[in-house]
Point group: C2
Chain length 355, copies 2
């Protein structure tokens, strides 16, 4: 399940049992109440029978290694990005999800709705349950397979193309043509295309079309050529439909560290400027299992103080998209991770054709 948590490998320095334990305690404490945690607190917190002074020595080592840092001379310590990484990768003990929560997720994602709706529901659910901002990419059509194509005449030079991708997903687009086509002609086109390509992957269909068109245009009769040309345009539109859904941004404002208005501003600008976040999400598509980006690791400074926890969701083993949450670095990973994981699996199940 957490197969790829350790993506950002680094020479993990050998840490004593104790040091690890203290880092874990420190991080958990910091996640809990957001205050830099000092040696005295830590001594009390961790069940260890050690004096603050001893703790200080260990913590000093951790600081040396860049795992924790203090905001100013006489404050407690706070995990650094590396600290979080280590914490998440090796120290974290994820809680199993309560049944109640699982049931809620399954209930809400159980209804037969179209896939777009399901995906949006998933985003809202994530945001509700985690109190962070939930986000989900909309299924990419590249890997979906084409069930059939239909063309309807709209007006003189406009044709409505309908792409049936699955029982629950349909897409249409309007084509502006250079001449008028009769209903009969259009019927021929779609019959032809359906015979040739029904059931194939959209991406493959498109490639075939392009190459066939280029290579053997002269060998095709006029009708086929037109049909393919039209299909090509439809598929082109269909492919660039990748986008994402975001819910519950307001939750982000509950966190002190994001209360800085300029930080929030950058964040919301990033949301409006979808490209950047999409890029990030794209990176998560390949890997399976939960992925975590901590702070600057994302490579986008606008997400500096945020972490991203994502998991891909699939149909028939094909990754359709990614879902997850975005929140302050200091989020309750042990809780968020299983939630994201479960949601991804339940959404996958809901999207799988079963009737």
């Amino acid at each position: 399940m957490l197969s790829s948590l350790c993506k950002h490998e680094m020479p993990v320095p050998e840490l004593s049992e104790r040091a690890q334990y203290l880092l874990k305690a420190l991080t958990e404490r910091y996640i809990r109440d957001g205050q830099p945690v000092g040696s005295r607190t830590l001594a009390r917190e961790a069940g260890l029978k050690l004096s603050p002074a001893t703790i200080r020595n260990v913590i000093a080592d951790l600081e040396e290694l860049g795992l924790v840092t203090s905001p100013h001379t006489s404050a407690g310590r706070v995990p650094t990005v590396q600290g979080y990484r280590l914490f998440v990768d090796t120290l974290l003990s994820v809680q199993p999800l309560e049944h109640a929560l699982l049931d809620e997720l399954e209930l809400n994602l159980g209804a037969e709705a179209d896939s777009r709706e399901l995906v949006e529901t998933a985003s809202s659910l994530l945001s509700d349950v985690t109190r962070l901002a939930g986000l989900v990419t909309i299924p990419r059509r590249e890997h979906a397979s084409l069930q059939r194509v239909e063309f309807l005449p709209l007006s003189e030079h406009k044709i409505l193309a309908i792409l049936v991708i699955s029982d629950t997903e349909v897409q249409n687009c309007i084509l502006n043509m250079d001449r008028a086509y009769s209903a009969a002609e259009l019927q021929q086109f779609s019959t032809f295309l359906n015979e040739q390509f029904a059931g194939k992957e959209i991406h493959a269909v498109r490639n075939t079309l392009v190459s066939e068109l280029r290579e053997t245009r002269e060998n095709l009769n006029r009708m086929m050529a037109t049909a393919m040309d039209m299909a090509d345009r439809v598929l082109g539109e269909a492919e660039q439909g990748s986008d994402y859904v975001l819910a519950g941004q307001a939750n982000l404002m509950e966190f002190n560290e994001l209360c800085n208005v300029t930080t929030l501003r950058h964040l919301f600008e990033a949301f409006n400027e979808k490209r950047q976040i999409l890029n990030l999400l794209d990176q998560c598509v390949e890997s399976e299992g939960v992925q975590i980006f901590i702070g600057e690791e994302s490579g986008y400074q606008m997400l500096d103080e945020c972490s991203l926890v994502t998991a891909p969701y699939t149909v028939d083993g094909q990754v359709l998209g990614v879902l997850g949450v975005i929140g302050p670095t200091r989020m309750a990973y042990e809780r968020v991770i299983p939630i994201v994981d479960a949601t991804a699996r339940i959404l996958s199940a809901a999207l799988n054709p079963h009737d």
Copy 2:
């Protein structure tokens, strides 16, 4: 153009020429730099050759009338909601739009895109140009007329219904049926419906269907009954499609008075919780011309420190939806109003069928 600015009538007390002028100057000044403005400043600002003392007397009257208020004893004055209202209704001199801006709007809303896209572009444009949050309701279909209907079989019990509303707008939905239908049957249904209802308003079609079904069910043959039933379900879906698009929320954070994180929080929660804002927008639909809600006037306390400037956009005289911006009460009305007005008109033009 500004036909309905004076919606919130109130017994406007007779104000001397001078008092009006000073209220205008004060409001403009306050809008410019957000600081309470004092008598000295006002004396300099307003070209009048009056001493601060005189100004103070006049301002004291304005305060008496509830048009301005001072945040604390020895600060300058700030317009109240009533003050803004008066300002907007009777004192404001709207700037004509520069040609460059008009051109930009027309250029961006000129492309042939489908209506949904146009509407989203309008929202982004508004937000870009005004540096406020732009928002636009998605065209309501109730008043749109139906060009035709098509049904396609998807699988055993699923049918794809396609609603052609105009050359540029198509909507589809998937119907789960209780038995299988052949392509031929579906063809019959759509032919029947198209003959009966093509060109009628969706709303009207639906009403007709419902009443005919109820009254004369026994007189209809089975085929027609089924066809009507199906159409009813499609139209029902089509009608509830009202929603809105929002762009540029990040802009809101540029304003000091909204930097209060809790205020922002309420605002963003309102955006997520679409209903409230939709209600507000609905109120704007009936009236023609630019509408302005100032602060608490909206009736939603979450918009307390915000104003809403909206204008409906139309096709063939039918109001399709509303567009506008939301921003702090202290916004540059004289600039925003013509922009919203122009955008509404340009969007209307772009949506009007012309080919």
